[in-house]
Structures are given as C-alpha cells and as structure tokens.
C-alpha cells in the first residue's frame, strides 16, 4: 500500500461506506467500534474487502480512516447524557449481561484502543473520562434497580 489514492476515489468510497454500512449504525459509538475493528493493530491500516474491490485498497483505507475520525468527533461532542444513552443501546445490542459488560468495560477499557491514531490527547482524554463517568452512571442505575436484572444466562 504505497501509492496515494485519488481524492475523488476516497470521497466516493466514503459515500459508499456511509450509505451501505454506516447508515445501519445510528449511534456514533457503534460506528467508532466498528471502524476501529477494521484496523490492523500491527500496521494501523484499515481493511474492507468490499470497498477495496470497488475503489482499491488505498482509497478504502483512507475512507475508513476518515469515517473513523468523523465518528470520533461526533462522540467527543456528544453530551454525557447522549453518551450514556449510546452505551445503554450498545450494551443491549452486545447481548451480554449488563453486569459482565460493565465489569469488562471498566476493567479492560476497550474504548482506549477504539480511537483513531493521531487523535489529540486532550480529546481522547476527555472521551475516556466521559466513558468512565458513563460507566459509573450505568452502574449506579443498576444498583438502584437490582430487580430489573435480566436472566443470568447470555441471550441467544
């Protein structure tokens, strides 16, 4: 992956990505995590077979990176209330017991590896801090309403 892709190809790839894939993810948090998952942690490059087949690997990589940055910006500017709502929605869609989910997110802090490379430290620090607060809020809500705990086995 050495040649620089044409800007037009990147823009078209971004439109395609937004229309076909990201449009199904309403929450910026879902988009951030999905786009981070298309990145190779050893090289920092993004891969998407469908996009690469249409626009070339380089254009696909840049399109994914730009959309990743976009999702990051949206999430950083979300209010705390918005972030809590997004995390609740994500937790429900993850099909994991909320206690397990909250425990894992607090312990592993997976959001730390979900931010784009080169994110400004202040913006990243602010987002991580908001995640910690959002987790505390969700945890507090669960402690207030223990009777609402769903069944113990993971949903299928």
């Amino acid at each position: 992956m050495t040649a620089k892709p044409k800007r037009m190809d990147v823009l078209e790839a971004m439109d395609d990505l937004r229309l076909r894939t990201l449009a199904h993810m309403q929450r910026p948090l879902d988009r951030l995590i999905y786009l981070a998952s298309t990145r190779d942690y050893n090289t920092g490059l993004y891969y998407h077979d469908g996009l690469a087949a249409r626009f070339g690997e380089e254009a696909a990589c840049e399109a994914l990176a730009e959309c990743h940055n976009e999702a990051m910006r949206e999430l950083v500017t979300s209010s705390l209330e918005g972030l809590v709502g997004q995390m609740e929605g994500y937790m429900e869609s993850a099909r994991t017991r909320p206690t397990d989910f909250l425990g894992m997110w607090r312990g592993l802090e997976p959001y730390r590896v979900a931010v784009p490379v080169g994110t400004d430290p202040l913006a990243a620090g602010f987002l991580f801090s908001n995640f910690r607060v959002a987790l505390a809020i969700l945890d507090a809500r669960r402690n207030v309403r223990p009777g609402l705990e769903p069944d113990a086995s993971p949903r299928r």
Binding site: L122, A123, F126, N130, A136, I137
Partner: protein
C-alpha cells in the same frame, strides 16, 4: 507612605524593563530554525487541538453537570467533578505550555524573522503575562472549586489566546509554503543535481 509605594512601583517597573532589554540583547540568530519550528508547533497545537470551540464548550459547559445532578447519586456527581477537573486542568496546563513556547519565540528570536517593533514586543509581553497569570489563576480555581468555577476567565483566556494566535499566525505565515508541490519539485530537482 503613598510616595514610597509609588517610587517602589516605579523602580520595579524600571527593573522589569531593564531585564526585558537585557533579554532582548542576549538573543542571537543562531539556532533560530529550532525556535521557529517550536513556535509554529506551539501555534498549530493551540489553534488545532486546544482551541476548538466545540471541545472547550463541552469541557466547561454546565450541561453535563445539570444532567448528573438531576439523575445520579452524590458519589457519581463527585466522581464526575473529579474527572472533569482533571480534564480542565489538562487543558489549562497544555495551553500554558504552548503559550510559554510562543513567548520564548517572541522574547528571544522574533525580531530576526517577524519584524516586530519594540513597542509591539512590549505589548505582546504584557499580553503573555496576563494570559499566563490567568492560566495559573484558573488552575487554582479549578483545583479548589471545580471545573465550572470560572467560566468568565475561561472565556477571556480563550479570546485573548485566539488573538495572540491570529497575530502569531500572521507573523509566522512565511513558514507555510503557498504551494507545497513546488517545494517538493525544487527538492527533487536539488536531489537530482
């Protein structure tokens, strides 16, 4: 007594001016490239990542606090205030560090590259002094009273920093190539030679 205070203040003022003039005299053009790059870097950091209104607004606006107060227990509120204070302090310290970098350029090297008169330099020095003091004050206020204690000082710091950034951007504009492709072409030509 009033006269004594007056003459003391006058004496201190002269001493300050003397130090300022001595510092101006010590600066040499050697190593100027590093100073220029540092100044440009500081300016880019201030304009690019420390001053975006959406991010600063999100850090210092009370909207999140209102939400927390309305819907969460006291310990979550305390945790939130601690977290937000740390972010606010991080921002203040970063702004301060970059301002110190910019000031180093102005007090040391600016007259060689940016054609700044002594009067402008003095006024800039005063602005830097006010801003850096405001940053220190903000740090103390946030530390003692939390991140939402001084919205006016935050606003004033942002406005004044933005003015210094605009002025500096104009003075350091020559470091931005108008057409980078031309530079690359020149570089390629030189390498070929």
């Amino acid at each position: 007594m009033i006269q004594l205070v007056f003459f003391l203040a006058l004496g201190l003022g002269f001493l300050g001016m003397l130090i300022f003039i001595m510092r101006r005299g010590r600066a040499t053009p050697e190593g100027g490239a590093v100073a220029l790059i540092e100044a440009r870097g500081a300016l880019d950091t201030l304009q690019g990542s420390l001053m975006p209104p959406e991010l600063i607004g999100r850090i210092f606006e009370q909207q999140d606090l209102e939400y927390i107060e309305a819907s969460t227990p006291a310990e979550v509120r305390e945790f939130f205030l601690r977290e937000r204070s740390q972010i606010a302090l991080l921002w203040i310290r970063q702004v301060r560090t970059q301002l110190v970098s910019l000031r180093r350029f102005y007090t040391g090297r600016s007259r060689y590259y940016a054609q700044i008169s002594a009067g402008t330099e003095l006024s800039l020095g005063l602005n830097f002094l006010v801003l850096l003091s405001a940053c220190r004050l903000l740090e103390v206020l946030v530390y003692v009273r939390g991140p939402f204690a001084a919205p006016r000082i935050v606003g004033a710091t942002i406005t004044r920093t933005a003015k210094i950034c605009d002025f500096s951007a104009e003075k350091l504009e020559f470091l931005r190539p108008e057409n980078p492709s031309e530079i690359n072409r020149d570089r390629a030509g030189n390498e070929a030679i």
